[in-house]
């Protein structure tokens, strides 16, 4: 099947082009002026000076609000993920290696909520937060984000399959109490799964749109994803009808592309750092199930 190999390679390459070309375009777009984006070739490089110019416009928009959006996103995603790590890893450990009353119930409820589409719960969560007078507070985003059943499930699977109970028993016989058994033995052994939970939780929080969109009223509190939509609606990039608004705020296509690109960087960093563990982890998960 020599011929088959060639066709295989062509198909794979064609799809790789579809996956990668928009990213290359996005990286190059801020190097050009709005006019050059239309007139020059899509993959031409403009100049770094243009990037600086686009950043000036973007940063000037609404009194440095772009920086506030990135800061908010970092606060929400890192704050929530910190709580997720502190609650989900021990919970997975407890669920996997003991059989307290109600364990099955907690496990099945976790699974049910995991399958439940998150967006369907946003409206009732809004009403709950309203009753607690938390609407418009940073906690109204961080606390719901801090509930991450998928993380509990990952930690549970990991402890149930990868850590032998005998190992922990041995530690106890050597005089460790429950807490130090967890801290000295179980936690260090769980490094790969801590990495996975961190990655999935951070990315899910960073990219979430619906919940912050519903619970935050003031645009200075928006995370970057909601901020991007705010930016989109104040430029004439896709609709000349906004016209004058765009002239005043100086946000055109290069600025919008730069805003999008910068919004992806934190996820890209986390992604590149954990890429190896991630791919291996997904494969390991596939094997275990």
């Amino acid at each position: 099947m020599r011929l088959g190999r060639g066709i295989r390679f062509i198909i794979l390459t064609a799809f790789a082009v579809v996956f990668v070309v928009p990213i290359i375009w996005l990286i190059l777009a801020p190097t050009k002026s709005d006019e050059a984006l239309v007139t020059s070739g899509p993959f031409g490089f403009g100049s770094l000076h243009q990037v600086a110019l686009a950043w000036q416009h973007l940063d000037a928009f609404s009194d440095h609000i772009y920086r506030a959006w990135i800061g908010n996103s970092l606060l929400y995603a890192l704050g929530a993920t910190a709580i997720v790590l502190v609650t989900a890893i021990p919970a997975g450990y407890g669920l996997a290696l003991s059989s307290f009353p109600g364990r099955r119930l907690v496990l099945s409820l976790t699974l049910v909520v995991m399958i439940m589409p998150a967006a369907a719960l946003v409206l009732p969560i809004f009403l709950e937060l309203d009753a607690l007078h938390l609407i418009g507070n940073a906690l109204s985003v961080i606390l719901p984000f801090a509930f991450f059943p998928f993380g509990v499930y990952l930690a549970y699977i990991y402890y149930a399959t990868a850590i032998p109970a005998e190992l922990l028993d041995a530690a106890r016989i050597d005089g460790c109490d429950e807490w130090s058994t967890f801290r000295r033995i179980a936690l260090p052994l769980a490094k790969p799964v801590v990495g996975l939970v961190f990655f999935f939780s951070f990315v899910a929080d960073w990219n979430n749109f619906f919940l912050p969109y519903a619970v935050l009223g003031d645009s200075s509190q928006y995370p970057i994803q909601v901020g991007l939509s705010n930016l989109l609606s104040s430029t004439p990039s896709f609709n000349p009808a906004v016209g004058g608004g765009g002239q005043q705020v100086g946000i055109f296509r290069p600025e919008l592309a730069l805003a999008t690109l910068l919004a992806v960087i934190p996820v890209a960093i986390v992604f590149l750092v954990s890429q190896r563990a991630l791919v291996r982890g997904l494969v390991a998960g596939a094997v275990k199930n």
Binding site: F100, F271, V279
Partner: protein, 298 residues
């Protein structure tokens, strides 16, 4: 009971009591942001705004809303297109990658995975650029499809396909990695045996590998269906980019949002959410039944 067994039972029950404190910090989150909202959504869907029992009133009221049927038609068409392309292309690419030299396949997997870093609003913005014939690197394709202007690219008839494309672009890479991992669990001897029996690569792929990863395909289909029906950010941004040309009640989730926040009608919004959950559960049940996802021993 032998002394050894008795001791084992004792350590187990000791261990049992020891596990609970580790789970305790997680429980308030599970209750407050998982279980209560679910119960609350059900309660709202079956009561009136004064808390009286409404029966199916909220459901019939929302179904007869003129925006209800179009919104559900949109998301079902979108979900259908997305699921179809996801299943055919993801499984196809994973099969093509499997059996290639490891280095080559790892490179392709990484390239396919990259757009996964963009999701939500960022991915939509990228594709708004891609769909704008004046700046898109694929403008010749857009012209071929009959779009000279941006508004023509996001014409209502094309939107389900546009959103399916965006979802595929960000989500397919992750699933290709999962499917590839699943393919790697197939014992090598099995493939070898088939080949000795004279099966070509095509036959091995379709007759041997495909049935063996059936459960993973079912798992992907269930999860993708559930997220597919929840479409919100994509049409919301297109609504803003098109200055209202695309309605802000294009998807059923948007309709629920408008019911709640524009009209303050949380009961109607909850009824639509319950509709969506019911559709998701029915679809999941059908897929599980048809594919034997939870059947053990095969």
């Amino acid at each position: 009971m032998s002394p050894v067994r008795a001791q084992a039972t004792r350590t187990r029950s000791l261990r049992a009591a020891r596990g609970l404190p580790f789970v305790l910090p997680y429980l308030p989150f599970l209750v407050v942001f998982g279980i209560l909202p679910m119960i609350y959504a059900l309660y709202l869907a079956f009561t009136t705004d004064t808390g009286d029992w409404a029966g199916l009133g909220n459901f019939t009221r929302t179904i007869s809303d003129y925006r209800f049927l179009p919104a559900f038609e949109h998301i079902l068409l979108y979900t259908g297109v997305w699921l179809g392309s996801l299943i055919v292309i993801v499984v196809g690419l994973a099969l093509l990658l499997h059996g290639r030299a490891n280095r080559v396949s790892a490179t392709f997997r990484f390239l396919f995975y990259i757009p996964g870093a963009l999701a939500g609003a960022s991915a939509v913005l990228v594709w708004l650029f891609m769909l704008d014939p004046s700046v898109s690197p694929g403008s010749f394709l857009l012209h071929l499809l009959g779009s000279q202007l941006f508004v023509e690219s996001i014409a209502p008839g094309k939107l389900p396909f546009v959103f399916a494309m965006i979802a595929f672009w960000t989500g397919a890479g992750g699933w290709i990695v999962v499917m590839y991992g699943a393919l790697n669990t197939i014992p090598h001897e099995l493939e070898e045996a088939a080949r000795i029996d004279g099966a070509g690569p095509m036959t091995v792929a379709l007759r041997l590998k495909l049935p063996l990863i059936r459960k993973w395909i079912a798992y992907m289909t269930i999860l993708a269906f559930a997220t597919g029906t929840q479409l919100f950010v994509e049409p919301q941004l297109v609504n803003q980019a098109s200055l209202g040309l695309v309605p802000d009640t294009w998807s059923s989730n948007q309709l629920a949002y408008q019911m709640a926040f524009r009209y303050g009608d949380f009961n109607a919004a909850a009824a639509i959410s319950v509709d969506l959950i019911a559709i998701g559960l029915i679809a999941a049940w059908l897929i599980v039944k048809r594919t034997g996802l939870f059947r053990t021993g095969d």
